[in-house]
């Protein structure tokens, strides 16, 4: 077991300039390079909550010989633009930029590593990228774009929802209607534009986002022996009917993307390294 972070060399830099400037962090592979990994981050508050796990995962993979690029997508982190400038298709372009940079640097098939909504972004990107792909790593993918948007909109309706005043329960339906009418909404401090929200709302279910390469799909469960959610089994059946393998890995740990404090899930890091090195027992 390689200690996380001990001998990993990380290089922060900016790709591009002006409005297309993106902050990147490249974790150089320790020893001979075994592959290239592009991290696809989750959305809004989940991005903040998962920074530690993303950093731990990136360093862990780098320690095992993988070059890992973390890129702050348009309007997030230290990249150019405000959140209101972010668009789904522009985020996919950012992934193209990151993938091209990795390809020029390492010239090896690319592993897309997506977390939560980033897993759907990675799947969507995988359908169109020109870069040769290695099997993908998906951490706790969201079940569907439309459910995910509802969950995000609830951040604004939570107070009303808990009141007994029925009239105040305008709820997420009213917020969706406002987006459809062209309003930008402030949700939990993020300016959510109709363009971005409706693109997420209209995303095909992962069942239909069949990637061209096998996928390692990881679900974090609270206790040993719990059954994974029903989504993974449904997606697996849909993909395998179309010739794409889905390896479902379950690990026990904290739901680090959802917890109110920063938490980590060491078992997920172990399972990820095992999967990418194909040492894992898969189902």
């Amino acid at each position: 077991m390689t200690p996380a972070g001990a001998e990993v060399d990380s290089e922060p830099f900016f790709l591009g300039s002006g409005a297309s400037q993106r902050f990147c962090l490249f974790h150089r592979p320790a020893g001979p390079c075994r592959g290239a990994v592009l991290y696809v981050p989750p959305f809004a508050e989940e991005l903040n909550r998962t920074r530690r796990m993303a950093a731990l995962g990136a360093r862990r993979l780098a320690a095992h010989g993988y070059g890992v690029l973390q890129i702050d997508l348009l309007g997030t982190g230290d990249s150019a633009g405000d959140f209101a400038d972010a668009r789904w298709d522009l985020w996919k372009q950012d992934l193209d930029t990151g993938a091209a940079w990795l390809r020029a640097r390492l010239d090896t098939p690319l592993t897309l590593w997506g977390l939560r909504l980033g897993a759907l972004l990675a799947l969507d990107h995988a359908r169109t990228t020109a870069v040769p792909l290695a099997p993908m790593l998906l951490w706790q993918p969201v079940a569907a774009g439309t459910t995910y948007l509802t969950q995000f909109l609830r951040l604004r309706t939570a107070h009303a929802m808990l009141g007994e005043d029925a009239a105040a329960q305008s709820g997420t339906k009213a917020l969706r209607a406002a987006l459809q009418a062209g309003d930008t909404l402030e949700i939990a401090g993020y300016d959510l534009t109709p363009e971005l929200a409706l693109a997420i709302d209209a995303l095909p279910a992962p069942d239909a986002l069949v990637p061209p390469v096998p996928v390692h799909w990881f679900e974090v469960l609270g206790a040993p022996g719990q059954a994974p959610g029903p989504a993974a089994a449904r997606v697996k059946a849909a993909w395998e009917g179309r010739g794409t393998q889905l390896h479902l890995h379950t690990v026990t740990g904290a739901p680090f993307w959802a917890t109110t404090g920063i938490s980590t899930c060491p078992a997920l890091l172990d399972a990820t390294v095992d999967a990418i090195e194909e040492r894992a027992h898969v189902v």
Binding site: Q151, A158, Q169, T260
Partner: protein, 87 residues
């Protein structure tokens, strides 16, 4: 364990995970009060909890179905989830 007991145990596990309640959470019973009694359960945590329940059980929860009474006790929350799971 009956199906209802199993459902309660799974809802409790989700609650403990999302609110990081640890061992203290294990002491929760069906009649344990939640909203107003668990300091961890603020409105933002409620949103995380609903999302986690939707994903864990593969259910979709409509806002109109929710009220403060849903989160009154562990038992009321588990009953709500059981009803949604039954379709």
């Amino acid at each position: 364990m009956t199906n209802l007991d199993a459902n309660l145990a799974e809802v409790k596990a989700t609650l403990i995970d999302v609110l990081s309640l640890g061992d203290a959470g294990q002491r929760l019973q069906a009649d344990s009060p939640l909203l107003g009694s668990l300091p961890e359960l603020d409105s933002m945590a409620v949103v995380s909890l609903i999302g986690a329940l939707e994903e864990r059980f593969g259910i979709a929860i409509d806002d109109d179905d929710l009220s403060a009474s849903t989160f009154e006790t562990l038992g009321s929350l588990a009953a709500f989830v059981a009803e949604k799971r039954a379709g």
